[in-house]
């Protein structure tokens, strides 16, 4: 029985020549550009502990990760680089003088529905400026991203710049707890998208925050009176104080013969949490205010000159600090010193990113693919993940090719000795390649084979191999005819592979220390002295 063909896993790609060389060359070109800014290459393992990404990357990413248990340890394939590089920084580089500039490229994995430009294994190419502080570093990072795109010849991309500081300050001002803040930030993208239904998003967020939990799946034991709004516990708590209330609660429960046990939680823990929960305020109003604010922020997005004035007005209305706005303004002013002012830029303070660790300036770069810019889709993706992570706008051909920003808390969250400001970004390499392709750019040609060396008989092999090695030493790309099919079929092979020269080593050439060179384009043959061979081949056909 014939063996069944084994297929590749859905959402992954096989790169065959010349695609592999093209993609590698594109990656190298981007990284070479980063080196002009003093970034140096770094690499981290594909395998990490799951915990690394749960620390700060955001809860929802876990559901899209490849995780598995191997000998009782929970491991994962990295869904992005930043957390890994920061871990490496904390592990090895904390004593280095700041900033530490690192660039990287490699495979990353996310379990998402595959579509054009969105793969489950994709390549991130990016950089991190660890210790880079304030607008100066932000501007450099943004400029190096745009510069790298310019360097590889991409023209029609758009940059959207935001800053999480404004929204974070508002959330703190409204007294929304950390869990709620994280949730709202995670939903920011969905909330401010065109045609989003804010009420639906609000309801979903509130239910995720434990307000009016979804009761439509009928848990029969569920007693609606446990709902905080009708519970006497908050007033009890107010009257007796938390210690008193705990005593009352415990006493009542033991009278009701309700065993406060199960699993590994102690009765004290359970009562303490019950009271803590009862003491919480209903966050509905605050969350509503926050979502309203974000929608207004979104409406004020636009070109920097217009957006800044309008945003100042809004921040004043909410009594919010204008510092984040000043930071963006300063970063964009500096940015102009890097580039010749032709970049398509939008300022949008409602720009959220799929990953939780961002704290300051954030940005995304979009490309409109083969289609013209659809007016209605000004610069927004369908979710805020990194370029790979599912942001290709279905149908419109708009894809996010880059995302990044500032994450000042990450080093600390990963166990760093002190808090270190940092910022960076990553490109989705496959998406940049698709964008270039859509623009009809030349791309990066794979290195061609310069010459095919053919022994006439197997007796000529040692001589032919020696010759091939000499040519390789002269940096020529040499194919050697390992199949020993004879001169005629070797010539046919060279023709089909468009190899410009064939060098033939036979007995006579061997004795005369010469070689026959056939120019496949002009279909001419010359007897050439060994000494002149390299010069001739370098001259090209």
């Amino acid at each position: 029985m014939e063996a069944l063909e084994v297929q590749r896993i859905r959402g992954t790609n096989d790169l065959v020549p010349p695609e592999d060389a093209q993609l590698r060359a594109l990656g190298s070109a981007l990284r070479n550009h980063f080196e002009l800014y003093g970034y140096r290459g770094a690499d981290t393992p594909v395998l990490e502990t799951l915990d690394l990404f749960l620390r700060k990357s955001g809860e929802e990413i876990a559901a899209r990760m490849y995780t598995f248990t191997h000998w009782n340890r929970t491991l994962c394939l990295r869904p992005e680089f930043t957390a890994s590089l920061m871990r490496a920084y904390v592990n090895h580089l904390q004593d280095r003088p700041l900033p530490v500039r690192l660039h990287y490229a490699g495979a990353t994995f996310r379990y998402e529905k595959p579509q054009r430009g969105r793969y489950r294994q994709f390549t991130e190419v990016g950089l991190e400026c660890i210790g880079g502080q304030g607008p100066s570093a932000d501007a450099e990072v943004l400029a190096s991203a745009c510069g790298a795109l310019d360097a590889v010849g991409l023209r029609h991309y758009r940059v959207v710049v935001g800053h999480l500081g404004v929204v974070l300050e508002l959330l703190r001002q409204l007294g929304i707890d950390e869990h709620g803040q994280a949730l709202i930030l995670a939903n920011m993208e969905t909330l401010t998208r065109r045609r989003a239904d804010p009420t639906a998003v609000l309801t979903r967020m509130l239910s995720q925050m434990g307000v009016n939990p979804d009761l439509n799946d009928d848990a029969p034991d569920l007693d609606a009176s446990i709902d905080n709004s009708s519970s006497p516990l908050p007033s009890l708590l107010a009257e007796f104080g938390s210690a008193g209330a705990a005593r009352v609660a415990e006493d009542l429960l033991s009278r009701a013969d309700l065993a406060l046990e199960g699993g590994s939680r102690t009765p004290n823990e359970i009562v303490a949490r019950l009271l803590a929960k009862a003491g919480r305020n209903d966050p509905t109003e605050q969350v509503r205010q926050a979502t309203d604010f974000m929608i207004r922020l979104r409406a004020l997005a636009g070109r920097p000159d217009e957006a800044f004035t309008r945003l100042e007005g809004l921040l004043a209305e909410y009594h919010l600090d204008c510092a984040p706005l000043r930071e963006v303004e300063r970063a964009l002013t500096l940015f102009e010193s890097y580039v010749a002012g032709t970049t398509d830029l939008t300022v949008d303070l409602s720009l959220g990113r799929g990953l939780r660790y961002y704290t300051g300036l954030v940005f995304e770069i979009y490309h409109d693919g083969a289609n013209r810019i659809a007016e209605s889709n000004v610069g927004r993706s369908t979710n805020g993940a990194r370029p790979d992570g599912g942001t290709a706008m279905a149908g419109a051909g708009i894809s996010q090719i880059c995302g990044g920003g500032r994450y000042d808390d990450l080093v600390r969250a990963l166990g760093g000795r002190q808090s270190v400001p940092a910022c960076g970004f990553s490109f989705g390499l496959e998406r940049v390649a698709l964008a270039l392709q859509a623009e009809g750019a030349q791309g990066f040609p794979a290195r061609p084979v310069d010459v095919l060396v053919v022994p006439v008989t197997d007796a000529d092999e040692p001589e032919a191999i020696g010759l091939a090695q000499q040519l390789r030493a002269a940096e020529l790309s040499v194919e050697y005819d390992v199949r020993l099919r004879g001169v005629k079929s070797a010539l046919r092979h060279a023709d089909r592979q468009t190899i410009p020269f064939v060098v033939i080593c036979g007995e006579r050439e061997r004795s005369e220390s010469r070689a026959i060179v056939r120019n496949m384009r002009s279909r001419t043959e010359h007897q050439v002295e060994r000494a002149d061979l390299i010069a001739l081949l370098r001259g090209g056909p």
Partner: protein, 334 residues
């Protein structure tokens, strides 16, 4: 075709019998049988858990098993097609249940908080389950990231009491077992609603016309039988001048005038009785039974009889159409 032994066996046989697909075996302890109405079909009785893998690997072509089992064991691009996801029996739900004593817990959000709280004390929330894939995805989807799955095939309900786990994810039908083990369900804690379902092996159905035809036969009968449960046939006798005039009276109420309209036939009275009687027959949704009876009364019917339908065929079997489209699309892909 594989049918579940134990657990769902009786219900499955009843279900098939009601569809006109009596399973015939010489002795109830035998693991092989036939369905006389489906020629060429051999029936194998298997454990519901094994049926999915048998169908998936293609050692049997069709199978009835639990929807929960299929969802837990499915892979992308596997060899299985879901033919009918809900056969209307064997209902249960995969739910997250916590100890009754956790009085601070009412919803899934509480579990997320507790998992984070335990983590900050260096402990992991332990979740006992026989459904690791569905459970893991559910927990991740609900922001519960710190947990250890305790895979257990024994009595899960006892795990929290034995301190082998904190919470469990298990199948529940009535909830009695949970209560007896001092566990409770929580809001938003339903991972999956499940019932018996019919699955098939993709390659077998795509390759073999005979098997596809048998599948069509099966789907037609099952679908028509399940649809027929929603309808009743009502017949009322009433006086009238003509069939057309009776029809006008009956159709004046559109919602109970039958699917396409009433069938009116003449009643030939016993000798000596008055002439001019007609029987109006309409097929109505069972939920509209009394409304329809009232409407027939208002139209002049004295007595109304209601009969269940055996089958209710539509223009075509929609589930078979879906299957054929699915197989065609794949054929074009390849």
């Amino acid at each position: 075709m594989a049918l579940p032994s134990k657990g769902m066996e009786e219900q499955t046989l009843d279900f098939l019998r009601s569809c006109g697909l009596r399973v015939s075996r010489t002795n109830p302890r035998q693991y092989r049988a036939t369905i006389p109405a489906l020629e060429g079909v051999e029936v194998l009785f298997q454990r519901a858990n094994d049926i999915f893998s048998k169908v998936d690997e293609g050692s049997v072509d069709l199978g009835i098993t639990g929807y929960d089992i299929v969802r837990e064991h499915r892979r992308e691009e596997d060899g299985t097609i879901m033919l009918l996801p809900a056969l209307g029996y064997g209902a249960c739900a995969l739910v997250l249940a916590v100890p009754e004593g956790w009085i601070d817990v009412t919803g899934v959000i509480d579990i997320a908080e507790i998992s984070a709280e335990l983590r900050s004390h260096g402990r992991d929330l332990r979740v006992a389950t026989k459904y690791p894939n569905l459970t893991r995805q559910f927990l991740f989807d609900h922001g519960i990231n710190y947990f250890t799955l305790v895979e257990s095939s024994g009595a899960l309900e006892a795990a929290p009491a034995l301190n082998a786990a904190d919470v469990i994810c298990d199948l529940v039908s009535s909830g009695v077992t949970l209560r007896e083990n001092r566990l409770k369900r929580i809001a938003g804690g339903t991972i999956l609603d499940s019932q018996a379902c019919l699955i098939g092996n993709r390659a077998a159905l795509a390759r073999c016309a005979d098997k596809l035809e048998i599948t069509r036969h099966l789907l037609e009968l099952v679908e028509a039988e399940m649809r027929s449960r929603e309808y009743l046939s009502l017949t009322g006798n009433m006086r009238g001048d003509s069939a057309a005039e009776v029809a006008r009276r009956v159709t004046s109420r559109a919602d109970v005038a039958g699917l396409r309209g009433p069938t009116i036939s003449q009643v030939y009275p016993k000798i000596g009785d008055e002439e001019g009687w007609f029987a109006a027959t309409v097929i109505v949704r069972s939920t509209l039974l009394l409304k329809a009876v009232d409407a027939l009364r208002r139209a002049g019917a004295g007595e109304v009889s209601a009969t269940p339908l055996r089958y209710m065929f539509e223009q075509k079997s929609w589930s078979f159409e879906a299957l054929r489209r699915h197989l065609n699309v794949r054929a074009e892909d390849e």
